[in-house]
Symmetry: C2
């Protein structure tokens, strides 16, 4: 585990974005969901990530989401909004808003439209954001998710960024599922927070110096992830919790994650308003929801009670 | 060739976006470039596409680019701006602006962040744009570019869109390089304009009912493409022009296209301001520029004179 002060550690949810009936983000429900997550084992809240459908919202909507969470009193120290964007000006604007709102840090996708871009180009992008924001309170967690962004964050790029911007580029969410890559990053860059993007890798990475995890499933099973995290640091055997967490992940990720997790939230809260997603995602139909719930019940995962 | 009235036909450039020294789009230079292209063989101007770095510009910049071209007197009948975006509200806003500016049609990428999305989700996205714009002057050309968007436009999706929105969804730019896919689409959907995204496929697709082409290289070799297009329709043998065009494409596409074409424009105009690109793209270095120019000279491609 990294002991560098001020780094994000522990269990983070890649927070879902609930929608109103007109398809706009439901700020009040999102704030409630965030509070409920903090009460159910989450140490941090990675809003506006892949699970949160960030790229399906325009800049104005994303700015509003961050500002409304701050206004609602969600502690900035727990917030790690996604602020990456294909367009540098958008990334600068949103990151500025996030820093102004007092967030702990931001999770930043690379520009993900062009493929096979050079590390020079990616370095210029991140440098452009950091210089454009121009605020030494900025903390950036790089977002390595080649399956979705198709733009990997290489060790070479991390090295250049750490050298050019020490204390600003401080960590990485690794959603590649490639354990060797995250383990290697934690070893190669001491003090750099490496957070896997899937629940089953939380425990293996804790053993390799990982800082915690940022996962979609922690919208509904953060208590289980917290049991792994706290138990591990207290020296307890957490293999049973790890197994249940891994089974939950496997069951839920058989479906498109955001849609499946929103279906589970609808079940927990008894409110089908939770089901709505933005295109190109689609709501899980009733048959798939029933199959998902049956599978979850079958593995004995206890869902938390609604707030 | 499709004979449906009002469809875009002929040679279109996927127009480069020149930048000012502060990195912002250079509206005046872009308008000049557009006029020069129309004088050098282009029938249409696909601004704000992949080559034009559209996704590297924020919505405000993209709106301004479309409005400034209209203000500069570039004929709307020649314009096909790219208006697709991961976020539905952005696509609606930009498409509305384009229709209001009197463009012939828009070229629309699917939302390209999420991978393996369903046709239901993509249909909902396009339907959301069309219903959101709510203007029967709207003409949409779908943009099939799986290598970059990683989100293919299937025949099934085209079929549903043509049925739901006849006269609005009217064509497709196919940048897949997959000749069988574009040939199949032209055959399967009579009256649907299929425009390949690479120069070497202009002639083969003309023989299969293609409507023309939309290519990056037509920023500098549109006269050659026009020779193929016009000669073919006049019943002349255009194999020599086709070979030169194909050789030019092969030579230029050995480099990242936008950077290489901006380098060629800098050479043509004698103005290195043309070299600038937005991150994550990088400017072609002097050695690569020299090698590219030498290769182009070697194949005997004559570049047009500056305006």
């Amino acid at each position: 585990m990294t002991d560098a002060p001020g780094l994000m550690k522990g269990v983070l949810a890649a927070v879902l974005t609930p929608l109103k009936s007109d398809g706009s983000p439901d700020d009040a429900r999102l704030a409630r969901h965030c509070r409920w997550l903090l009460a159910n084992g989450c140490d941090g809240l990675a809003v506006l990530g892949t699970t949160g459908e960030a790229n399906s919202f325009c800049l104005k909507e994303r700015i509003r989401i961050v500002e409304k969470l701050a206004e609602a009193g969600i502690p900035g120290s727990a917030l790690m909004p996604g602020t990456g964007d294909c367009a540098l000006p958008n990334a600068i604007t949103l990151t500025r808003v996030a820093v102004k709102c007092g967030v702990h840090g931001v999770l930043m996708l690379p520009p993900f439209y062009y493929k096979n871009v050079s590390d020079d180009g990616l370095f210029a992008y991140y440098a452009g954001v950091i210089d454009g924001v121009g605020d030494d309170r900025l903390r950036i967690y790089l977002y390595h998710f080649p399956q979705m962004s198709a733009t990997p964050i290489s060790y070479g790029l991390i090295e250049r960024l750490l050298k050019a911007y020490p204390g600003i580029v401080v960590g990485m969410k690794d959603s590649s599922g490639d354990f060797a890559n995250m383990k290697g990053a934690a070893k190669r860059f001491p003090g750099f927070a490496v957070l896997p993007g899937s629940d089953d890798l939380l425990l293996p990475m804790l053993k390799e110096g990982g800082a915690g995890c940022i996962t979609a499933c922690c919208n509904v099973v953060s208590a289980l992830a917290a049991e792994v995290w706290r138990g591990f640091h207290a020296g307890r055997d957490v293999s049973a919790a790890h197994e249940r967490l891994t089974a939950a992940r496997k069951t839920i990720s058989a479906y498109p994650l955001s849609s499946a997790l929103k279906a589970i939230m609808a079940r927990i809260t008894g409110d089908d308003a939770w089901l709505a997603v933005r295109p190109p995602l689609v709501t899980l139909d009733a048959a798939k929801r029933a199959a998902l719930f049956q599978a979850l019940d079958g593995i004995g995962v206890t869902l938390p009670k609604a707030a």
